[in-house]
Assembly symmetry: C2
Homo-oligomer: 306 residues x 2
């Protein structure tokens, strides 16, 4: 079988790629990213590059490439190409493979909780209606709808997973307004000062990279899943996570805009996603242990990422 | 001021165009349709044609062109071009006009209640979450999201109106699964036999063409409207409308697929749209009187349509 991973140089993709050989021992992996690296380097904003990637039949695609939210807000034309046109054209190419009589490919699309926009303080269910306030979230949502429609038609077998804040991204990774969720881990690990752009009572939806990769694999292999899944993230305050980390050098300088967009998440109820086999990091302590384990693994064997 | 109307040869557009000179006495009207006629003929599926239409600045655009639902379902590639790529590219061009320092154009987009898909029997509110089961509805919904996002950014001033079944379309107009809603009017008027593909208890959301045109004009001119409006349609059964028509030669041959998609509409509660000044045909009798008046006007002066 042939498996394509887009955004292969990305943070989540690297954990996924490490897990793929065990899950699909005989798979031929096709990796691509815009950045130079040990993969096919190219720009998914160019439809011709997507045509090349999909020239030979594919059985499974993980579409993880995207332009992050803050960057997308600043560069609307590029955001449209990367976050909307690219997944739609990729989906069309895969649908064309099905219509031509080939295998109907499974497509796992990394959507985002950015589709929701700011939520109130009351608990929300996994089926809460989206109302994005960033172009990034609007583009993810539009892609979800497009993929669900092609799947309804039978031309594709797609699933969209709404990813929460995945931690810990590499230090200083740009373009993410939620970067503070990762920076506290690096500060704790290196016993360094960090000024967090939220207050300690800010709440977010968290997931470790390992749990995220496991969920992507589950989405690829389990049957009878719904077309769109809000992953069952851990709801925790910054204080909870900082305490579990034992970090002592965090200071707080709340930025109202960042708090509103990324630090006001209400409790999330996702019983259907849990029943469908998706996983969560159960407690702040479990999250911290998994993330620190992931970071040690990366540090010990950076070259094993691919 | 310069006003563009796409789909100018269409049924709703013709009523709108007739009403435009009174509403905007000094407007220069730019009309376009794919069919040959007294307008700029061209295919909105060709981005270059949209570029031409938007070369000179526009103040107001009514985007009414679309590939109807049944046709869209049969021709997915053409549907994507007409129902998704065209409005998005048009919106991008208008946003570019704003970003270049020009007037921020008003865009009135004809969306559809097809965004909802089949609803239950309980009354639904105008804010009911969409769940389309036709590509047509998915494409309209995606466009709504895109326009709302550009409006949020300040690059555009768009409003999406979800149109119900507009009656009476011309006899034998193709591609509409809801054609039966119009055919009963023609059958009644000509005292002709008509076999309706629903039962008499099928319920739909109805609006006369005059009321629809008035709502489009209201959307163009009123201030502080929400980005997406479900129009306050008349909820009535086929029996109610046939009785108001005094039609005696209708027979019933329910097609389960058509009934499910177009004949199971629950009561619609749209207090916000009504408070915002959008109109409805209040009763089956009022609907029928308006539609028969519209049909007489058309028959008396077909050449005045443009």
């Amino acid at each position: 079988m042939r498996v394509l991973v887009t955004g292969a140089g990305g943070f989540v993709a690297q954990a996924l790629i490490r897990a793929l050989p065990a899950a699909f021992p005989n798979a031929e992996l096709i990796l691509t990213d815009r950045a130079p690296g040990p993969w096919r380097t190219g720009d998914l904003g160019d439809p011709g590059f997507i045509d090349q990637l999909t020239e030979a039949p594919l059985d499974l695609v993980f579409h993880l490439a995207s332009l992050p939210g803050t960057l997308a807000e600043r560069e609307p034309e590029r955001a449209r190409r990367i976050n909307l046109d690219a997944p739609l054209h990729l989906a069309d190419r895969l649908a064309a493979q099905t219509r031509a009589g080939g295998v109907r490919p499974r497509l796992v699309f990394a959507s985002s909780i950015a589709v929701f926009g700011p939520l109130g303080s009351a608990p929300v269910s996994e089926d809460h209606p989206p109302a994005p306030t960033l172009s990034y979230g609007a583009q993810k949502w539009m892609t979800e709808i497009y993929l669900a429609d092609l799947t309804r038609r039978g031309d594709l077998d797609a699933i969209s997973l709404r990813l929460p804040g995945i931690v810990a991204r590499p230090e200083g990774a740009g373009g993410f307004g939620s970067a503070f969720m990762s920076e506290i881990f690096h500060a704790a690990r290196k016993n360094r000062l960090y000024t967090c752009p939220t207050g300690p009572d800010a709440t977010a939806w968290w997931m470790s990279r390992s749990t995220c990769a496991a969920n992507l694999l589950h989405a690829a292999t389990a049957r009878d899943l719904p077309p769109t899944v809000t992953l069952p993230a851990l709801h925790a305050s910054l204080r909870d996570v900082v305490e579990a980390l034992g970090a002592t050098q965090i200071t707080w300088a709340p930025d109202p805009k960042i708090e509103t967009l990324f630090g006001r998440q209400p409790p999330l109820l996702a019983p259907k996603a849990l029943a469908a086999g998706f996983r969560t990091d159960a407690t702040p302590k479990a999250l911290v242990e998994q993330v620190l384990h992931d970071l040690r693994t990366d540090a010990a064997a950076p070259s094993s990422l691919l």
